[in-house]
């Protein structure tokens, strides 16, 4: 089975994660621009971060046979530094039209402050102007209200709900999101967002339409195999394979391919090329040696 993880912060992950994801069937990932665990203090670090997402991280993923896409945006936490946020807003037009940028994201509310609201709205306008999907981060605190507000504001700015992915849903928000015609994404993330047993129940209850899952794996305790593991669990608990395919691959593709920057042929036609890059031109494996699975893991050659 092939999987897409449409929200994962690979910049924070190791090559072991890439290898494991590839082995588990992940063929494509989307990395939303987010914060780095602590606030940045200069616009230059934003620029380098965006460059990294469209440059080195994409290359690194290709070394493991995984197609890497991203969404570009100013996250809600850092929107609260207004002086810096102004400068970041000037940067965004340089990046949002790059190849493989499949949306403006992840944007939205965190504390739901006035500054967050201002930059969320400005970025919705930008997304509409360049006709890109929007990936919304919904807040952890006061979640239900924040989720509803995110959608209301998006509609106020004239966005088509079919172009908006509302992320980090739970049992309390999913119905409102689906009713309004937005995409409902779920993050399978230990301890905080959604567990995969609960996710299985949600899919049993609501069906697969407009629903897809992601890992949001980042620098915290998280699991980059959350998508394939959840697929496995769903199959074991009697959810039909076609439904699992929709929520772990096809729906995410349908939502983000509206950018015109992501299509199935990207990975289906390019697999051989990826492998030749991986095995002959590899600079992650120092000195270009071919990857080996050692019988004795204590030996490093």
């Amino acid at each position: 089975m092939f999987f897409i993880d449409p929200h994962v912060h690979m910049t924070s992950r190791t090559t072991d994660d890439y290898e494991a994801m590839r082995q588990a069937g992940v063929v494509a990932v989307i990395e939303p621009a987010f914060w780095m665990g602590q606030p940045r203090t200069r616009v230059g670090t934003f620029q380098d971060y965006y460059s990294h997402l469209i440059g080195f991280e994409r290359f690194r993923a290709s070394q493991f046979g995984i197609k890497h896409y991203c969404t570009i945006g100013l996250n809600s936490k850092e929107a609260n530094n207004e002086a810096l946020a102004e400068e970041v807003m000037e940067l965004l037009p340089l990046f949002v039209c790059k190849e493989g940028v499949v949306g403006v994201g992840e944007i939205g509310y965190d504390d739901q402050t006035a500054a967050e609201d201002k930059y969320y709205r400005l970025q919705l306008e930008l997304a509409r102007e360049v006709n890109l999907p929007v990936q919304i981060h919904t807040p952890h605190r006061d979640k239900k209200k924040g989720t509803l507000r995110s959608m209301e504001v998006a509609l106020e700015h004239g966005l088509d709900p079919a172009m908006v992915i509302v992320d980090h849903n739970n049992e309390e928000t999913v119905q409102d999101v689906l009713e309004r015609g937005f995409w409902a994404a779920f993050t399978i993330y230990p301890h905080t967002k959604m567990g995969n047993e609960r996710m299985t129940e949600i899919v049993k209850h609501y069906g697969p339409e407009h629903i897809f899952i992601n890992s949001a794996a980042d620098w915290g305790i998280s699991d980059p195999l959350a998508v394939p593991k959840t697929a496995q669990l769903m199959l074991e608990r009697g959810i039909p394979a076609e439904t699992v395919h929709l929520v772990t691959y096809q729906n995410a593709l349908a939502a983000f391919s509206q950018s015109g920057q992501m299509q199935e042929s990207d990975w289906l036609n390019d697999r051989l090329i990826d492998q030749s890059l991986k095995f002959s031109g590899n600079s992650i494996l120092r000195g270009g040696q071919t990857p080996k699975i050692e019988a004795d893991p204590t030996i490093i050659r």
Partner: protein, 290 residues
């Protein structure tokens, strides 16, 4: 002015391949490159309108490229590369310093494909002597696609890189297992310092129980001294045919009496080389075949 002939060349091959809408977009952009902003937007959006399929140039078109700019080998170029290179040749600017500033701004916000295109375009860009730092920066990359764009099938490094940077590029190509035989002008810029660094690197690899490309001996051969003879003898005894052939070629190219003597001891090697079946080029081509 060479830039104009390069532009005409690129526009002609694009016009022959683009559908009407793509060509209209390109011509529209070329006519409207008044501001830097217009240039950056056109550069980043180009693939949406011209695509990324290979140009698949004819033999005549490739020959024309060679005549326009010795060493210019667009055989593997794509539509996107040709269009973006054309835009680069038209970037709005007044002075060479302006032009460098534009390239720097472009590179600082470029994606993988854009930056690779920029490096592959270097031999055609105006003020070539001002792009040495940019090329050396490209050699420092860890991204294969970008390194290849600077180092392989590109005459810029041969024509403009100072010896230190050239030597670093060759060493990095060896380190990252990139095919040396695709480096333009490889045989013109060998030097004793490079030979010494390559032999040192071979010793490092051997000490670690690893191998390295037999192509390195192509660059050691012109600087073969008695000091390197034990290495050549080691290669002659190698189980790897290409390493044996490399040793034999190095000995044939040498005037040292000891080289003659070694060849006399291994007549079978000499025969396999002198029938013309084995050259540095063939060793290179076979070395990366697996």
């Amino acid at each position: 002015m060479p830039s104009e002939s390069y532009q005409n060349y690129l526009l002609t091959i694009l016009a022959a391949r683009l559908p009407e809408a793509g060509l209209a977009w390109l011509q529209n952009q070329l006519a409207g490159l008044a501001s830097e902003k217009a240039f950056y937007l056109a550069f980043s959006m180009a693939p949406r309108f011209v695509g990324k399929i290979p140009l698949s140039l004819t033999a005549a078109e490739l020959e024309q490229a060679q005549q326009l700019r010795p060493g210019f080998q667009p055989a593997s170029w794509t539509m996107e590369q040709a269009a973006r290179t054309l835009l680069l040749l038209r970037a709005p600017h007044q002075t060479p310093a302006d032009y460098t500033a534009i390239l720097n701004r472009l590179a600082s916000a470029a994606d993988l494909c854009e930056v690779a295109t920029l490096y592959a375009a270097l031999p055609l860009l105006p003020y070539p002597e001002t792009h040495v730092k940019r090329a050396a920066e490209g050699v420092r990359t860890t991204m294969t696609q970008v390194f290849d764009a600077v180092a392989l099938n590109n005459p810029y490094p041969h024509d403009y890189l100072p010896t230190e940077a050239w030597n670093q590029m060759i060493l990095k190509a060896v380190f990252n297992v990139r095919p040396l035989h695709r480096i333009y002008g490889l045989d013109h810029r060998h030097n004793a310092a490079l030979a010494q660094m390559l032999v040192d690197y071979a010793h490092e690899r051997w000490a670690a129980g690893r191998t390295l490309t037999p192509e390195v001996w192509r660059l050691v051969s012109p600087h073969l001294t008695l000091q390197y003879m034990p290495d050549i003898q080691r290669l002659l005894l190698s189980a790897n045919t290409l390493e044996k052939q490399a040793a034999a070629l190095a000995l044939i190219e040498s005037d040292l009496p000891m080289a003659r003597e070694l060849l006399r001891q291994h007549p079978e090697m000499k025969d396999s080389i002198t029938d013309g079946a084995c050259t540095w080029q063939s060793i290179g081509e076979k070395a990366y075949a697996s």
